[in-house]
Every structure is written in C-alpha cells, then in structure tokens.
C-alpha cells in the first residue's frame, strides 16, 4: 500500500487566512493548476528540509551508523556525515502527486523499492532508527499556499484572464459575432473575478 499524505488546501485556507482572503481565494484552490503547484511545492519543501537533516517535527535526524559511514557505497556516492536520507536520490525523486480531490491533494510514494526505503525511514526497521521525514507542518503549508495564491498572483491571474477574455471576445467577433452562450467564462467565473477586483 502506498505511503500517502493528504494535504487539505481548504483547511489551510480556513486556519491561516483572513475572511476577505478566504472569500477571494476559495474558488482558486479548486483550480487544478493551483493544486498541482501547491502539491509540488510541498514535495519540494519536504525534500529540501530532509536534505538539510531535519525531520517533520523540526528535530535533527539520528546520525548515520559508523558501519554505514565506512561502507563502500557511502564513499562511492560521496556522502558526508550530514544525514539527508539520500544515496542515489531515487527515493526522493519517487515522491509525487498521487491524486487530487475538490480542495485537497494527496502526495506519496506508490510501490516498489522506494516505498520500502521510505517506510524504513519513517517507521524504523532492523538497525535503522526512526527518521520520520514524512510530513509538513501546517504553517509550512500555509506559507506555500500564500506564495502560490497570493493576492498579487490573483491580480496577475485576473489580468491574464481579462486578456484572455478580450481574446475570446475578439475571436467570437471575428467568427461572426459575440455569442454569450459559447463564452468560456461562466457566471460563476465572472463572480470570482468581481470578488478579486474588490480586493
């Protein structure tokens, strides 16, 4: 069974943003692009933190055993005493977006040797101590979400949407007259645009 971590954008939004921001951003967090970007940045953050030797609680990982430090593979891969759970890099590279829901994303490692390696670190195994890298505090998720869907980004998106709206309208005119029934922007979208303009 895959190792999974489900991150709820709606919870992060509810817990960390002002009411005005929540109203403005609620529609955006349903966007597949926003969810994908949020998921990828969360993965990047977990990897970055792990590479700096810190677990999901902010504690330093247990050090490598002296036997491992003396091993041939340790030398071949040019590793240092800094614990980063990275030998070939395959385990970290295998972390991906597994699925998305309406306002949540699930990241994880799905099967194979890499999943076994990750599980060994998270739970500890045989002679391996627990080095639980699998998680991301909500404040980190909030910082990422703020970055991904900042008001500035929303305004820029609005600018692009307005440009696209102009292009769509111009295309419709060139095609033989504007047709409100075939517009790619729904009334709901226009309501969102109005909300964003109010910020």
């Amino acid at each position: 069974m895959a190792i999974k971590l489900t991150l709820s954008l709606s919870k992060v939004l509810a817990d960390n943003f002002t009411k005005q921001q929540r109203i403005a951003l609620a529609p955006l967090i349903r966007s597949p692009q926003i969810k994908n970007e949020f998921a990828q940045r969360c993965i990047d953050r977990i990897i970055e933190r792990t590479n700096s030797g810190i677990d999901k609680r902010g504690d330093t990982f247990a050090g490598y055993s002296s036997a491992y430090k003396k091993s041939r593979r340790f030398a071949i891969y040019g590793k240092s005493s800094q614990v980063d759970l990275k030998l070939t890099g395959a385990m970290q590279a295998s972390i991906g977006l597994l699925s998305t829901d309406n306002t949540s994303v699930t990241i994880g490692i799905d099967g194979g040797l890499e999943e076994d390696k990750a599980r060994g670190h998270i739970k500890g195994a045989n002679y391996l101590p627990v080095r639980d890298f699998w998680g991301l505090p909500e404040e980190d998720q909030a910082a990422i979400l703020k970055d991904v869907v900042s008001i500035q980004n929303a305004e820029e998106s609005l600018s692009v949407l307005q440009d696209l709206l102009g292009v769509v309208a111009a295309s419709a005119i060139l095609a033989g007259g504007a047709d409100t029934n075939t517009s790619e922007l729904s009334n709901a979208d226009l309501a969102i645009l109005s909300e964003l303009e109010d910020q």
Partner: protein, 162 residues
C-alpha cells in the same frame, strides 16, 4: 497592476526554454546521467536488460573464482575496484570513458570507441561485458531522478525569469 501581453508571455516561455533546454544545461544533465550509471555500477549494480523499455536494477553477476584469483595476482587499479567485487572496474577505463554530447533540447550519453591501454576500445569492452552484465541504461527510478533534475531547472528558470 503590471499588464502582460501574449507577446510577453511568449518571450517568457522562450527564455525558460532556452535556459532549461539550452546546450549548456543539457550538458550538465547528461553528465548527471553518466554519474548515475557510473555510481550504480561502482556499487555493484547493473540492469536486467539494457534494451528493455523499463529496465530494473539488478546486482551484477559475480566474478568467477578463477578471475578473482587472477585479479588478486595482477592487482586492480580503478577507484573502488576490488579483486573480488563485480563492479565492472578493473582499471576504471570503461566507466571513465562515458561521453556526453549535448545540443539544444537533446543530450546523448555514450561509450565511445576510444583506445584503451590493453589495445581494445572501450566500446569493444562494453559490448563484451554487457552480455552477462548489462549496465548501460536508466531504470525507472533513475529516470525519475533525471525528471526531477529537469523539473528543478525549469522551476529555477521560472523564478529567475518571472
């Protein structure tokens, strides 16, 4: 609010494409691919097939007892070479011969036909050893490593060009 025209967006994407898939970056990616294969082999691992679509990692076939004896007698000189460990390293010439050639949007990692001290070429030696110990391919997890390297470069380029 800064307005962005379609021309701005087009230029931005061109800049990203040039910086990520330019010759220099592709050369770096190719060298990292060569390094992935080299370190895996030095660790004693090859692949189950170097012609399969998705090869998987497999321990290199062990050395024969007679060859181990010969290596002990003659000595091995390559880095991380051992008379008794199967890692395609005796003198190190084969793994050190990997060649990386890059151009816009493309990189080729190959074993060139360069001359060795024993009179053979590196490609001849590679062709010989790959029959029992295929090694020159990327496994699926290794492909993901390369994808991550490229994705990181795209993201860095996006941040730089934004």
């Amino acid at each position: 609010m800064a307005e962005k025209t379609l021309a701005d967006i087009g230029k931005f994407l061109d800049d990203v494409q040039r910086s990520v898939f330019g010759k220099e970056t592709m050369q770096v990616v190719g060298e990292q691919i060569a390094d992935i294969v080299k370190k895996r082999v030095k660790s004693g691992y090859g692949v189950n097939s170097d012609t399969a679509d998705k090869p998987s990692q497999r321990k290199l076939a062990p050395l024969s007892e007679s060859y181990k004896k010969a290596r002990k007698r003659l000595g091995v000189t390559g880095s991380f070479a051992s008379p008794v460990i199967s890692n395609l390293t005796n003198t190190g010439q084969l793994l050190d011969s990997f060649s990386v050639k890059a151009k816009q949007g493309e990189v080729t990692v190959s074993i060139p036909n360069t001359q060795r001290k024993d009179g053979l070429t590196n490609r001849e030696v590679a062709d010989y050893v790959r029959e029992k110990r295929p090694f020159f391919a990327l496994t699926s997890p290794e492909v993901k490593i390369v994808e991550q390297i490229i994705r990181d470069k795209i993201r860095t380029s996006f941040k730089k060009n934004l």
